[in-house]
Symmetry: C2
Subunit: 445 residues, 2 copies
């Protein structure tokens, strides 16, 4: 599934402003930065994701003849401007922190340096792409921390907000630490491992539960995970146990059972006992149904014998924080730093860099946010991805990004690994940046 890439995936004001910039030939270099203003409640960190799709969007930025025609018919734009728009390509630079990197507000995770119209036009879709995947990867990372090594699978497609959300959620969740997804299109698009079991309807379409189990095992002999929660969970576990020997003689192994309602921990214990007593200790138990990182932590802490968790709706909608306060702001135009000063929404001006310091144990200690030409001790997080409209390096594999994310989570200070974070990670604003902000204020006062 190729992602939608139309130039019309934007807010009308971008185009009306572009007409304005065109009229006055305001085409000097602009610097915009994308950042998140604040953390959702209880959260300790965010995990960057979505950069690959954002860069792909910039690379393919162009308006089609049909789109130009539609814009012309709207009567809002001059024909000279539309001719110009027809030629527009992204020729600028992009700096960003790598996908799978832990970050904190108000650190910029993307910087676009390009002629003003280009940098302006792309705002809506860049935020749309990076905001969503960052939100999901951050949520997935929490589930991965809570699961303490147990398997985690994304089952969320149907309640994701549309097809693109479903497919990109699968990508972001995999990047953030899940083992895979049920969303087939995400397997095709990104090579994510795809998992599938059966639904209640499969059982109900048969007259008999055990007949349905046997039939499914024959149809999917290498993927026998049986849903035992349609009628009576423990009775179904007994049926699975009786069936196992028969299937074994045919060379088919039952790999797992799935429960998805009621008290999951209680059912898992009873089912585990039944399976163990019947000589089936290798049959795994997969639990699903309204799960999120909090429910998983409770089940894991409680020692519930669940091997794998499927998480859906609450992951792909990021239920406790269905949006992040993500913005893309002008920081510099024509060589002069700019700053928004609206009430409660003031921003740090200029091009910025983040430096991260680590302790001797390899754990993250503190970040410093400063202007771009103010080197500090520590690791600089923003690096060039696109220069003069061209990708600097070939796209990294999703596997390598996933490993990057896991390595980052391993470096989190212990208090940030908790699901409820009380003590924020220290992000210091360097003196040079504070000074620049004061200068800008003086100039625009």
């Amino acid at each position: 599934m190729p992602l939608a890439s139309s130039i019309l995936l934007t807010d009308m004001y971008q185009l009306t402003m572009l007409q304005g910039y065109f009229d006055r030939q305001m085409e000097e270099s602009a610097v915009f930065e994308l950042f998140i203003r604040s953390l959702p409640e209880q959260r300790g960190f965010l995990l960057a994701a979505g950069l690959e799709q954002a860069l792909n969007y910039l690379e393919h930025l162009r308006v089609t003849p049909e789109e130009l025609e539609w814009l012309a018919a709207s009567g809002r734009f001059s024909s000279e401007f539309l001719d110009h728009l027809g030629q527009l390509r992204f020729t600028g630079d992009v700096y960003a922190i790598p996908e799978g990197t832990v970050f904190f507000p108000p650190e910029p995770i993307l910087r676009v340096v390009a002629p003003l119209p280009q940098a302006q036009l792309v705002e809506s879709r860049l935020v749309n792409l990076i905001h969503f995947q960052t939100m999901i990867a951050s949520k997935a990372a929490r589930a991965a921390l809570a699961a303490r090594g147990k398997g985690l699978i994304d089952f969320g497609f149907r309640r994701a907000h549309g097809a693109e959300a479903g497919v990109l959620a699968a990508r972001a969740a995999y990047l953030g630490g899940l083992a895979g997804s049920a969303t087939v299109a995400a397997g095709q698009a990104f090579g994510i491992p795809i998992y599938g079991t059966m639904a209640h309807s499969f059982i109900q379409a048969h007259d008999d539960e055990i007949e349905a189990f046997e039939h499914f095992a024959h149809a999917q002999p290498n993927n026998v995970i049986l849903l035992i929660h349609t009628y009576d969970t423990e009775a179904a576990a007994e049926k699975v146990a009786s069936l196992a020997g028969r299937l074994q003689q045919e060379g088919i192994t039952i790999q797992g059972v799935r429960i998805d309602s009621g008290d999951l921990g209680d059912h898992a214990r009873k089912v585990r006992r039944i399976l163990d007593e019947r000589g089936l200790p290798a049959v795994r138990i997969l639990a699903s149904g309204n799960l999120d990182e909090f429910a998983i932590e409770a089940l894991v802490t409680d020692g519930a014998p669940i091997d794998d968790f499927a998480i859906g709706t609450r992951l792909v909608t990021s239920i406790d924080a269905p949006y992040l306060d993500c913005v893309y702001k002008l920081q510099e135009y024509a060589g002069r730093p700019r700053r928004k000063r609206s009430e409660g929404k003031a921003t740090w001006p200029g091009r910025k860099q983040i430096y991260r310091r680590f302790g001797t144990d390899g754990r993250m200690l503190a970040d410093i946010l400063t202007v771009d030409d103010d080197p500090q001790e520590g690791e600089a997080l923003l690096r060039p991805y696109v220069l003069g409209g061209k990708r600097v390096d070939p796209p990294p594999s999703l596997e390598s990004l996933r490993q990057q994310a896991a390595a980052q989570l391993a470096c989190l200070p212990e208090p940030l690994r908790q699901l409820r974070v009380h003590q924020p990670y220290p992000v210091t604003i360097a003196a040079a940046l504070q000074q620049l902000a004061q200068e800008v204020d003086r100039q625009t006062a």
Copy 2:
């Protein structure tokens, strides 16, 4: 923007079950119904939306050679099954309540009657499409009720969950009562009225605020809505007033000003006073910034002189209810009614119909949910849309659906028009349906 229509936009278990159905030639007629199990907290009603995209999906359901190749390479499916899948088309019937109709859990809003594999395969995407638009239309309807006739515009694209979410949210919100959207692609796709103003960056890219205003007015002479909140709102309103006369001489009228942070009601009052004193009573005030139906109601009730509201993130993410408990369940197979009985998730079996009764004042009184062949007093809500794979009627216009929605909202009982609903609307389960459920339970006990 054509919607993604890949057959791989589904959960893997649909395909593994289809292999199972294929092996046993389980192709008899199945009846699935789509419904929402319960209302989100405080909500009194839902508004159906998304049917048009769902029907379009069914009409174009087919697998491409590339997709077949990818499925074959996965090694999970027999080649006979994949050949069969390559021929699959939707040949069944669809009954539904019209988009823009008010409904209540657990009323089915869509019924699919088709050979089991077809009806099963489409579950994930049907839910994905109808769930999202229904959620957004329902949220938009609340904003429309709260706005009491004031203008409402969708500004949510950037924080919608991906591009499809942004575009479909604009459609659903327009259907639910908004006046239009800022999302350009939604204008192209659905003919929705598109609105656009300017961003802070436009102001900041200029050295002077008034210069930016004048410049924008020249670039968009028929659409002069000026953002007055970049530095000092009231000072900017004075600048607008000074500029207005000058522009008037050039034949350009300032249509409105936009404020988007701080105390919106307080700023609106001060700005209104400035504009009125300077002889500009016709200049409209548009407010935006973290708005939802509750904030709008508070501002309207308080008499804030705001003419139009833009709502974004909180609308398109349905912030208070980012998902609905929407499911698609097998109700009948091969002529026999079926019922899921899992704990807390039991469903009403068989094909059903909803009858709605109205009072003499035209307001809705009560609904009765019953089996399909049990006529009741009142209006039957489910009607045929597709028979034998063919659309019964040409697609209705979005305008007509929007009018339908407005007419429905006008028929809501008064207590349901409040933002916080305490008394649920009565939905009665008819005796015939209760009896059928008991029979099914006896048979599968």
